[in-house]
Subunit: 433 residues, 2 copies
């Protein structure tokens, strides 16, 4: 049996503790697969005295990053501390010291992935980040290795468990947004400050990573259009039910045949026939449409100590195998295409639209004439007298149309004197065409 | 750019044509990833003159296997001819000639996987078979690499598209088994002789492969209990609907904590809350429960020319990358545990049972007393007068119990004079415990 491989951890939060626990519990399994033992030699923490849920040998804890980054015994550094600048500095330093790096840090990879990949490559080191998207789901590996000889056309992801939990509560139980958020916070699915989750930023970062891998182009966070769920109204979700839709926060990464791409995150009405519609509670899932393979979906826990640690460990095992074979630093994402964003007039979908209109004869005729002139037809129409005096509520679902045309129509609609207010509109996906 | 890599195909059926087509269509993509071109140099076929749906250069077709197996230019052999003995002989010959082998042949791998892996290993060759289970779904890679540091406890698979299509038609549309099978045959989802599919043999072979990878033990086809769908009655499916169950042909691979395993294929009532319940039509999906990761699921097309070819190509790309790195033959399944099958008294599940009983006072009391004595309690009971004279129909769903106990109870039940006939019984899975 070969010499034990020493690992250094940067951080000992939920994921870090999970990694330490898996290495301890599954030592025999790791030895069987790797032909050598694996041990955690040093762990960088902020506070040596902090009480920890996982019982770890305190002598390996340190507050000095050099104990991890400058220890020649340590071959693999696992960054699970989170945050941006410090993590970036440490990782670059690890590459300088020819250490392989595994990270679960989606924020860092979304912002500095290309820089870090280049540094890894220069130093012939591995940089893996399976845990950065979809927690325990072996997703990036499926995308980059499993579908390697296909052309990915569309990725649709439920990549944020917090918002999926909240939306499930709202959709299934009719809970208000505020109560559902509170419940998620009590269960530990949402942070005290839930902004990054509920405003879609967390999902946007993950979609950047997925889009880069899928389309081999340098997608950046600024390229992503983001809309969160904090303004959703139960009224729309109830209409959604009548229409056989589920409301989901969907991250889209779409590519046209001429390599234009769209990356966005937005609350979306999904037909209940779509495989993603049945993904409820805090679960994550990513649906991938490839030119050759067709539809595939990966489903699983998007977060949690042990699930995420499982993904980190799959990377650690790969890095150690590569060490044994002497082939580290060979697997990285080579950008291939110039980035060009899909213009709005080439982004097609159906739309759901809810309006308050004056309750007078011919109001609906005016509206439908406007859409007709814009070349947009309706698939579904629901109309009911509103509670508000003199106003009727109209819900329409359009046939597929371009985003540009839909936005033009909205602007024109707002000028119609019969239209009191455009209450809401959402992208609709997954209906049979 | 390095020298082009030459591939030899054994077979040019639907999958072989798909592989040739992907290599031709995605040549630029392959070059980008591999740093070298890939071409199909020779294709072994039975009949040179046969009309083919895919337009291929006829000069590379041959009926002489030596043109593939003894050509020193060919580094990678793709076996997509099917069948057992001939395919096995050719693959062993390919390893002798130090060629890497990719196969989509589940029957062969289920029967001779360990022998072939040993031969590959001996000759420092790669043997990959991603396409053998779940068609285009990157499933085996997810299991063996993605969940590498987890302990898989349960695999539940819808791994046969033909039967899933038939069951969907029966379940959703109320089509009879015979009509659904005919429809599947007309659509090309079922063979003229559907036996291997509808009797569960195809699924059993795939479960052998999944169980080996999941549990690192030498599962063989004889270890699998197999029951097909050809005797299913619409009556049971209708009761299933009332109980909020979907009928699926499920392949199980379960491991107890002491490494006892159960591998079986059987028609199963799945709670509609289970992620597999929403997998309809010809789609496949595999649900995996790992000690650390929890629940994950992989979903996608289980068959089809291009989807399956995508999986084959992911293996081809991996073999070529390994060639470039000089590390072929390092990845194979090392059995680790003695195989021990789980005895029937340690195999727990719920059961659905439908009985015809004499329509007399106290009949149900007798039956329920019998189950009570056996220590089996009921979760649900449905009773209705049957059309047949003097007989009532009773459906019960038990709480979780052992298979041994349930079978004992069935035997005793058949001896009760009030029980006219045990019409059917099925395993029930996915209900909240």
């Amino acid at each position: 049996m070969e010499k034990e491989v020493s690992i250094g951890l940067l951080g000992l939060g939920v994921v870090g503790s999970g990694v330490a626990q898996l290495i301890e519990n599954y030592q025999d399994d790791l030895k069987h697969q790797l032909g050598c033992g694996v041990r955690v030699k040093s762990v960088l923490v902020r506070n040596l005295e902090k009480a920890r849920s996982y019982d770890i040998d305190h002598s390996i804890l340190t507050t000095n990053c050099d104990d991890v980054l400058n220890d020649p015994d340590i071959n693999v550094v696992v960054e699970v501390m989170g945050g941006i600048e410090e993590a970036r500095k440490y990782i670059l330093q690890a590459f300088q010291a020819k250490k392989h790096v595994i990270t679960a840090n989606k924020d860092l990879i979304a912002l500095y992935g290309p820089e870090l990949e280049a540094a890894a490559n220069e130093n012939e080191c591995d940089l893996f980040y399976e845990a950065s998207v979809g927690g325990g789901i072996p997703l990036l590996r499926g995308l980059s290795d499993g579908l390697v000889s296909d052309r990915i056309q569309q990725v649709m992801g439920i990549v944020n468990g917090t918002t999926n939990y909240i939306l499930t509560k709202m959709d299934v139980d009719g809970t208000s947004y505020e109560d559902a958020l509170k419940e998620a916070q009590e269960l530990g699915f949402a942070e005290a400050d839930p902004t990054a989750d509920v405003e879609g930023l967390d999902a946007a970062r993950k979609m950047v990573i997925l889009a880069r891998l899928s389309f081999l182009t340098n997608v950046e966070l600024d390229d992503v259009e983001v809309e969160g769920i904090s303004n959703l109204s139960l009224t729309d979700l109830q209409y959604g039910k009548q229409l056989d839709y589920s409301m989901k926060l969907i991250g889209f990464a779409n590519r046209t045949n001429d390599h234009h791409i769209e990356v966005s995150v937005q609350p979306t009405f999904l037909s209940n026939k779509h495989p993603l519609a049945s993904v409820t509670d805090e679960y994550n899932a990513v649906y991938i449409n490839g030119e050759a393979v067709g539809e595939t979906m990966f489903y699983g826990p998007g977060a949690g100590s042990l699930p995420t640690a499982t993904a980190v460990m799959s990377d650690v095992v790969e890095a150690i195998k590569n060490m044994r074979l002497g082939v580290n630093g060979k697997k990285f994402v080579k950008p291939r295409f110039q980035k060009e964003l899909t213009p709005m007039d080439q982004r097609y979908s159906q739309f759901y639209l809810r309006l308050h209109v004056k309750d007078e004869v011919g109001a609906f005729a005016l509206i439908s004439e406007l859409f007709h002139q814009m070349g947009i037809s309706f698939e579904r129409i629901l109309q009911k007298p509103s509670n508000k005096d003199e106003l009727a509520e109209i819900v329409v679902v359009t046939h597929e149309t371009s985003l540009a045309k839909f936005k033009d129509s909205l602007a024109k609609l707002r000028e119609l004197y019969v239209v009191e207010n455009v209450e809401s509109f959402f992208r609709v996906e997954g209906d049979a065409k």
